[in-house]
């Protein structure tokens, strides 16, 4: 393109009001688009960070969530005989037999929400060392005490330190608040697995068994041993991190698809705005187009100049939209995770690929919005254009 960039940039600045309004419209749409992607990515990031790469979770094959999985005591014992399970210095296996149930709690601001309550075994310190008690203390094994994730403590007035939660016919005292730095565990309540099993009359039947491998590289060998035991045919092992990543897929895909669908409808309005702005730019600069063409600039140069101007407008809008959306990272919200039917708190998360996707989205709006006016400018008859003076 031979037409100087300063011509495009200065024209961009010359029509301040219309350019500003168009940029604002594009920025709004890109903000929504980016926010949707950040929300979906935030859910994924939260759940992926929940699991550990060297832990293996065992569930019943047909179960699509922890609460629908059942593992009896005989199977728990068979699992303990498998090779490559990490041991504590005293020889105990690093393994946690976990009942997972859902209870209702009143939310701050009204309404009731499902909360995951997870029973854990004493080896939990070794299994999930990322858990940090930030207030109070760890529950006492053998007592009806609970620790709650900080996302729950913040959002549920009945889940504060020292308060009691009533479920399974008893009152459970909250003795500690824990954090796992924003993972899905922060949206759970934990207690002694044996106490929970007893309270819910489950005998020794748990939901899942999670164990630490002695070496993450031994996963294939562990899985081979697992699959070769006929008693375990109804169960399947999966890396804990992968399990939670799969749990995020349904919700994040739903948010992404719905959000992008809505944003595309919004983008039609913004694209029409860009088209009107560019048609007006072409109409106002008809004589300039005729002059440039008569000086020897060809149709392609004119097309490129106007298309670039449209792309600059939408790129500016896109950059503003992304910049504003980036502040959403300071906010966390909660929603119902379809996979676990329980509350999941998460933060909006921005990634380089979201920035690129949003800029590409803005560029597409600029291209679509600017194409027809640019073609009109390029196809303009020189004599007719010059007569416009």
């Amino acid at each position: 393109m031979k037409i100087p960039l300063k011509y495009i940039l200065r024209n961009f600045m010359a029509r301040k009001l219309t350019t500003f309004i168009t940029i604002a419209g594009i920025a709004l749409v890109v903000f929504v688009f980016t926010a949707v992607l950040m929300m979906a990515f935030g859910i994924q990031k939260t759940l992926v960070s929940t699991g550990s790469g060297d832990n293996v979770m065992i569930t019943r094959k047909a179960a699509n969530s922890e609460i629908s999985s059942i593992i009896g005591p005989d199977i728990q014992n068979v699992i303990r005989t498998l090779p490559h399970i990490a041991k504590e210095p005293d020889g105990n296996l690093v393994i946690s037999d976990e009942p997972v149930v859902i209870v209702n709690l009143e939310k701050q601001g009204g309404g009731v929400s499902n909360i995951t309550v997870r029973g854990v075994s004493p080896e939990i310190d070794q299994l999930r060392p990322q858990v940090k008690i930030i207030k109070g203390r760890m529950f006492t094994w053998g007592l009806r005490e609970l620790i709650v994730g900080d996302a729950i403590a913040k959002r549920f007035p009945g889940a504060h330190l020292g308060s009691y939660i009533k479920f399974a016919g008893g009152n459970w005292k909250i003795v500690g608040i824990f954090t796992t730095n924003g993972s899905g565990f922060d949206s759970e309540i934990w207690g002694d697995a044996l106490q929970l099993l007893s309270a819910f009359n489950r005998g020794s039947t748990v939901s899942t068994v999670t164990l630490k491998l002695d070496n993450p590289e031994n996963y294939d060998a562990f899985k081979k041993a697992f699959n070769s035991d006929l008693r375990l045919q109804q169960y399947e092992p999966i890396i804990e991190q992968k399990y939670f990543a799969q749990q995020s897929e349904m919700l994040s895909t739903f948010i992404r698809v719905l959000g992008i669908f809505i944003t595309i409808i919004f983008s039609l309005g913004a694209t029409i705005g860009a088209t009107i702005t560019m048609y007006s730019a072409v109409a106002n600069r008809t004589v300039e187009i005729g002059t440039l063409r008569s000086l020897g600039f060809n149709r392609r140069s004119i097309l490129s100049a106007f298309l670039l101007e449209s792309l600059l407008i939408t790129l500016a809008g896109g950059a503003i939209g992304i910049f504003l959306a980036s502040f959403l990272q300071f906010f966390s919200i909660s929603t119902l995770n379809f996979s676990s039917f329980s509350e999941l708190a998460f933060s909006f998360a921005l990634s380089p690929s979201i920035v690129v996707s949003s800029l590409v989205f803005a560029i597409i709006m600029g291209f679509v919005g600017g194409f027809l006016p640019s073609v009109r400018a390029a196809r303009m008859n020189i004599v007719t254009a010059l007569r416009a003076s």
Binding site: R10, E288, S294, L295, G296, N298, S389
Partner: protein, 227 residues
Amino acid sequence: MADIIQVKNVSKSYWRDSIETSVLHDISLDIKEGEFMALMGPSGSGKTTLLNLISGIDKPTRGEIIINGTDISRLNESSLAKWRSNNIGFVFQFYNLIPVLTAFENVELPILLTKLSKAERKQHVETALNIVGLNDRMDHYPKQLSGGQEQRVAIARAIVTDPVILVADEPTGDLDRNSAGEILILMERLNQEFNKTILMVTHDPHAASKAHVIRHLEKGDLIQETV
């Protein structure tokens, strides 16, 4: 002097709603190299149409236009654009400067289409602005210049590529008497000192009197020759 512009049996018609409007009828015209010709005639006589055909921004319906040995009526769109940038300098009635560019940048526009380096372009632009006497206004935007100064910038833009032919459509039509006089002196100088062939459309007999040859058009026909 050889004929630099040869217009042979050129006709031009426009169609609107399938109705043909004939603007030029079988025009033949020769212009010698270094000649200064004025085209006069009433509004709607076809002066500007003939100027547009000779400058390659419009195409004849019939006939040939040979400029410096090239039949421009046979050139395609992109070849014609390139030919214009190399051979023709345009001066418009309303100057047609780009308002967002400075005088320097406006004059530089045509040579952006050449392979000249930035330093060479600067030299060419300064030379052109020097010729029109506006070296001290090169950083001014069109709205910061008077009408006469704007037209001088437009003339600098027309000559910056050193074209063989200058076409001017009512170059003094939007100027006061003094400014118009300055522009005509400048055009005479370009013709005499720099040997530019000039074809000027004008209503103004005083402007036309500066030309070597005056041709009159009436209702699409060349009617007489005044030397």
